[in-house]
Symmetry: C2
């Protein structure tokens, strides 16, 4: 396809211009996804599938389910009732537009671009004169949609009505669309709406925080592109009002509204709300420079990683309320682990890293990314898990009535969320601060990093996550002094997750090898990064070798469901056993923590994965040994329905 | 469910009464399926599934596709055009009634019985006054149905119109229904129709043989229950007219009409037509005592088993014309092997055995039954293969547009055929002649055999086909002198198929063990049977141990597609390799004919199968060895779509 404009350049101009350079911000800046080109076989294929399958099919679903028709009806262009089941269904359209915009940035597509414009025209037409935009209330202010209760009157149900949630996604989409295309058609809609909300909410006006956080993130993005500080102020106001509105809690712990953020130190309530909340708090902390916000989310983060994080990076253990459980409440078959919560967890941890520069946040991010997030979408890119349990009996219909991934859901937040997340992924790989380059994630790629001292090209060659050998070729425009920091993953340091929630049973020390231009380097380890300071010349080659071994993992003794069990990991990948690989069943298998496992790459299995192999004992057959195979958790449920388990009981083989 | 009548007794009365005992017949008589109760885990489950899933779902399909409405329209009870695509679609209804009747014989079901009566009432109403019955011609004698050409006028297209084919299935169904229920409602329809056909066809009347054989079998069954010899005469007339009509061939080799049966010595043309034809010839041979018929089908049988039989027992290699190929033309991925042809092959070989008493016919029957026939229906009993290829690339839609089993077909002969075959299966297990009991097939079961010298109960205990140990407990009413013949399968004698089409590479001699009451017996081997003559007492226990080893099979050098390849067998089961068990692919694998394979029963795999395991060399990866698993061919295509192969290239492992 012919490139007709340079979205890459445009993107960079847009994000650099709007705000004053001296305003507070994250100390570390990501290298935007438009400056990173993935060339690997693992992720680039996913981006391609997202572009070619996920976004088009999600848009068709929005058309088919009336989500787009809702805008036409609200605009008076068509007659009819509100078409879809939930008041927040507008947000799916926004999220897919956001994803499509990201996709356009790296893969121009005039047809898609024109389609987005036509959608935006419908959205603009559905916006009321004063900026209000929420199709189900505009269509019929007296009648709530199916599957929803509560008044349909404007601002009458800030807790449940999702006006502010929808708005947040709209701002994210509008900003993405503006950044990529330079067109203001969607941005102007967002600004008009944000101004209305700014005039409606705030001190002395409506004081309620949104029932479902998300607008905070959107307002911060709007602030970034417009430079209008009132949007940041409004985001901060919403955060401050939480647990604080009129001196009492409005929505309770479900919406993290049980007490002010500064008094919270445990992750509670609805996990997606929580993840967006903490992300918004990080944004406000960074852009206001207020340390108290950071301290609060530090405490919550410590709570999550030490007591509420699945080995897959999933969060939100409870189905009831789609919520965090109590400390160490981490059931497997009944794990909820909403895909959206995994995305929120990635967003939050990335912001934590941008605040702190510590690799432990990327450890959590990477774990979530390769496991509990990626499991949410099929290899084919057109079916989804809403919850992501760590075990299945192949019978219980855990996925909203199904035992397999589904094409869509009544509440279809996860498909639209993943469709916008995937194309943004390259933006998580590299970051920079002054004259330091951070290499956070590993995959064959090219990146362009703007250091204070000048532009640096970086090329990464690796077969990560299957192979631990990583080669980086650094190309500054001229010989330049700067720092390159390579993340040393926690798993390579026998620290799969910060804290003691998960530990490796095997204790061999890992042989990390680092060379520059073939010269072995003494490793300078700092905040979880290997730090290399030198005068870099174009073509300088860093080679890092991370040991890819199968690790046996034990959970903290307080996690009742994992008691006496082990899980298997290799690199960033968490493994699971599926019935189809293990003679039809896995709940009858036990693993010897002392036994060895082979791992080999098989190119024809599940689009190419490393399969872990060894022996298992039959607990239902006098401990008889049989061949055992495990596959990456993210790829389960692609070969029919059957039992699956991440955690398997331990047994000493005789 | 309460047993309200004794169909078993009824069945026996009916089949014994109609004909004179002195009339010629098969020298060997089968023990009727109503006298055999399967108690095993392999087949009895299939019978249950057939009763609970296959027959009800097939009846629903007949309702949904208009096959039943056709009778109502022909009867003038409803308006409309002929509903379904083919003129022979009535036959599906007949076959399912036949299967349902068999099922009623062993499992009384008043609701099903009443439903059959309501169907039969519609069929009777659709019959024209003179006995003519063919809904599409009755509905619109001027307009042929969709997907069919040719005149719709009565008897105008004996070659293609399928009037006589439909009639044959109607007679089989009517006889089955009469035998099981004692009701004449369907039988009278059949007799009225047969009389019309008898008055229409024959010397000096219409002289054409049917384009698709089947009526011959039906007429013989009608002769058996009515004692009316004219039906046997008509069957014989149709057989004799083939290749002989008006002194020239009418339909050619496609319909085995290229020359008289006595001059045929090669299986040619449409395989289902052929299989029904040879079965009909065997019936007429037995019931007339004419040796010339037997000689003819002997020659054809030799041709099939030595040159045209798949290792799976499938026949009819060519898709084009659904026909036998040339000698040794046995392609794998393009193998047609229609499920109906496998059923016809079983029917034919059983009749050959009843004529000759030789076990080689049961060898072919057993091979077909456990492999190329059983593959035609899913484990769940509700989806079907029409063709049964021996290899798949997981892409080519070999099954009428699908790569998986389908719920139904436009031409849905196979689903209806298998629904009537399965419940009749117990009738293939035992046979008798004077004072000899033949045990042909092995499965845990009870049977009651009527010898000249009195009733004998036989109980069989075994886990065949997974285990070769078979225990038979013989219970005559009193101490009696008679003969028990146990079939010694060809595969246990290194003779998988009569002739040299397939040979075992491994040449170890098999250790057959036979004991009576624990005493080792000298084996008296006769016509492929172990013959035991003695005064049997109630409780005498025969134990036979057949060696269950994995055999490597080579095909005759003239079979081009199997050149340089081997297949794996164990007992009567032919194995295949599927991608899902072999790291996603099988066309890149080679087996060492000198290597050993393990075989173990896994109860959770594919409803419980012996899995064959060993190593394979990667032809695409420098002969690197990897784990290899093979599963029974009949169970393939149950765990997603992917490559499958029965024959794999040979390679000597280094």
């Amino acid at each position: 396809m012919k490139k007709t404009f340079s979205p890459l350049l445009l993107f960079s101009l847009v994000i650099l211009c709007a705000r004053e350079k001296t305003a507070p911000d994250y100390p570390i800046q990501p290298v935007p996804f438009t400056y990173v080109q993935l060339t690997d076989s693992f992720w680039s294929h996913r981006l391609e599938i997202n572009r070619e399958v996920t976004i088009p099919s999600a848009l068709r679903k929005c058309e088919k389910t009336g989500r787009i028709r809702n805008f036409e009806i609200a605009a008076g262009q068509q007659d009819g009732e509100f078409q879809s089941p939930y008041p927040f269904d507008d947000s799916d359209v926004y999220k897919i537009i956001e994803g499509a915009a990201y996709s356009l940035a790296t893969f121009p597509d005039e047809k898609l671009s024109a389609y987005l414009d036509s959608l935006i025209a419908k959205i603009a037409a559905a916006q009321e004169d004063d900026g209000y935009l929420m199709t189900w209330r505009t269509i019929n202010p007296n009648k709530p949609p199916t599957e929803w209760s509560g008044s349909a009157e404007r601002w009458s149900d800030i807790g449940g009505g999702h006006e502010l949630y929808n708005a947040g996604h709209m701002y994210e989409a509008a900003v993405a669309h503006y950044q990529v295309t330079g067109k203001r058609n969607f941005l102007d809609v967002a600004i008009k709406n944000a101004d209305l909300i700014y005039n409606t909410f705030g001190p002395g006006k409506l004081m309620q925080p949104p029932g479902h956080q998300e607008i905070e993130i959107g307002l911060v993005k709007l602030y970034r592109v417009t430079g209008e500080k009132k949007y940041l102020d409004l985001a901060q106001f919403f955060i401050d009002q939480r647990g604080n509105s009129a001196g009492h809690e409005l929505y309770g712990a479900y919406s993290q509204d049980h007490r002010p953020i500064f008094e919270q130190n445990e992750a509670v309530g609805h996990a997606v709300r929580a993840g967006y909340f903490y992300s918004g708090v990080a944004d406000v902390a960074a852009l206001t420079g207020e340390q108290a916000y950071i301290d609060a989310i530090d405490n919550i983060w410590e709570n999550v990683v030490s007591k509420k994080l699945y080995i897959t990076g999933g969060i939100g253990a409870r189905r009831h309320g789609e919520a965090f459980g109590d400390n160490y409440e981490l059931p497997n078959a009944n794990a909820y682990n909403e895909t959206c919560a995994a995305i929120a967890n990635v967003m939050w941890n990335f912001r934590m890293f941008l605040l702190k520069g510590e690799s432990k946040y990327i450890d959590v991010l990477e774990r979530t990314l390769y496991n509990g997030l990626l499991s949410g979408i099929s290899l084919e890119g057109d079916t989804y898990f809403y919850p992501n349990p760590l075990a299945s009996d192949g019978v219980a219909a855990f996925n909203q009535g199904a035992t397999t991934r589904k094409e869509w859901f009544n509440c279809s937040c996860c498909p639209s969320n993943i469709s916008r997340f995937i194309p943004s992924l390259p933006g998580y790989f590299y970051a920079h601060r002054d004259d330091t380059i951070y290499v956070n994630l590993y995959a064959a790629s090219h990146a362009q990093v703007e250091l204070k001292s000048g532009l640096v090209q970086i090329s990464q060659e690796t077969d990560y996550p299957w192979d631990g050998r990583i080669k980086l070729i650094v190309k500054p425009e001229k010989v330049t002094h700067f720092i390159v920091k390579l993340r040393l993953p926690g798993w390579s340091q026998h620290q799969p997750v910060p804290g003691d929630l998960y530990t490796y049973i095997d204790t061999e020390s890992s042989a990390i090898e680092l060379t520059i231009n073939g010269q072995l380097q003494k490793t300078d380890y700092h905040n979880g990064f290997l730090k290399m300071t030198r005068e870099w010349q174009s073509g300088d080659t860093i080679e890092l070798s991370l040991p890819m071994r199968v690790h046996k993992v034990e959970a903290h003794v307080a996690v009742a469901e994992d008691s006496g069990k082990i899980a298997l990991e290799r690199g960033p990948i968490v493994y699971c056993a599926e019935a189809v690989d293990n003679f039809g069943k896995v709940t009858n298998l036990a693993l010897d923590p002392g036994s060895d496992f082979l791992s080999d790459f098989f190119e024809y299995v599940l689009n190419g994965v490393v399969v872990v192999r060894g022996f298992a004992a039959r607990t239902d057959k006098n401990s008889q040994l049989q061949d055992f195979r495990a596959i990456p958790y993210y790829a389960w449920n692609h070969r029919g329905v059957g039992e699956m388990a991440v955690w398997l009981p331990m047994a000493l083989f005789r």
